[in-house]
């Protein structure tokens, strides 16, 4: 089973990297960009087909390592 974990900064946390990218996009003339925030994506392959178990394992992975919940939030998506 394939899953995607998306980790992003909480909205209250300043993201200077996102701001720099936003500025670069503006200077490139890309139209309509209002703001950019940078995050991380983890593509994870899991054994078996038990989605509930997989969700539990990925939540565990996020809480223990993939996200720092002081500043980040995460969500899990499954590829169908």
């Amino acid at each position: 089973m394939k899953a995607r974990v998306i980790v992003t900064l909480k909205s209250a946390v300043l993201d200077p990297q996102g701001k720099a990218i936003e500025g670069a996009l503006r200077s490139l003339g890309v139209a309509g960009v209002q703001s950019v925030r940078q995050g991380k994506v983890f593509d994870v392959e899991l054994a078996g087909n038990d989605k509930v178990a997989a969700e539990g394992a990925l939540k565990d992975a996020c809480d223990k390592l993939l996200a720092n919940t002081v500043i980040e939030t995460y969500k899990v998506e499954f590829a169908d």
Binding site: P16, Q17, L65, N68, V70
Partner: protein
């Protein structure tokens, strides 16, 4: 005193931390590999040195914080044992949950490598007895992710409990967040755990311990630790 300097893949300041301890305390510290499960018998100070453990992969200090040896460090800290994290060591302590908050990318996105003024916020802890409150120390910083932050309740708690160890200051001793090296909230350069036995700081006191190199303002930190452990 018996010190242990931890070594993670990518640590690169363990030699300087060990040298500072040797120079100031006269005792040779043990260097302990991250995969060990126990600290040497009788360890009373654990030092997490600077560097780039695991290449700063994922987040600075995130992977080192989950190393085997950290279970022993947690137990040591829970018993009241002294722990000092410098630079990447501070990042590891935050990631390990031994200190609150987190160190994020410098506000101006630059790696900052220069000397700063640090204001000693209190001189009654085991780490700072050799200083006076309000002393300004000349200590270097060298980091890209030293911008300390935490949620407002945590910052309020740290301030209320007197757990800010050092702040980045101007030469006149005033604190100016915007003028600091990394944008850290309230100019926070180092913090204590609730029992004041764990200290994490971004600047490198181990750099300034030898007159051959320059100022020796970092000596006081190691002298304080040695004094506290001798008295204990």
């Amino acid at each position: 005193m018996k010190a242990a300097v931890l070594l993670f893949p990518g640590s690169n300041r363990e030699g300087d931390a060990a040298r500072a301890l040797r120079l100031v305390t006269g005792k040779e510290p043990a260097v302990v590999w991250h995969a060990e499960t126990e600290l040497p018998q009788g360890t009373d100070l654990v030092v997490l040195p600077g560097g780039f453990s695991y290449g700063d992969y994922l987040r600075c200090g995130a992977i080192a914080a989950r190393a085997n040896i950290m279970t022993a460090v947690r137990a040591h800290a829970a018993k009241g044992g002294m722990v000092l994290g410098i630079c990447n060591g501070f990042q590891i302590l935050c990631e390990a949950g031994l200190l609150p908050g987190v160190l994020v990318r410098n506000a101006k996105l630059r790696f900052v490598c220069r000397e700063v003024f640090l204001r000693v916020e209190r001189a009654d802890t085991a780490f700072t007895k050799a200083y006076r409150k309000g002393d300004l120390l000349r200590i270097p910083v060298a980091h890209g992710e030293g911008n300390y932050t935490a949620d407002p309740a945590t910052i309020q708690m740290l301030e209320a409990e007197g757990r800010v160890a050092f702040r980045y200051a101007r030469v006149d001793g005033q604190i100016d967040e915007a003028d600091g090296p990394n944008g850290a909230i309230h100019g926070i350069a180092g913090i204590y755990s609730d029992k004041l036995n764990v200290l994490g700081m971004m600047p490198h006191p181990e750099n300034h311990v030898d007159p051959v190199v320059g100022p020796v303002d970092g000596r006081g930190l190691f002298e304080s630790i040695a004094g506290a452990l001798k008295a204990a």
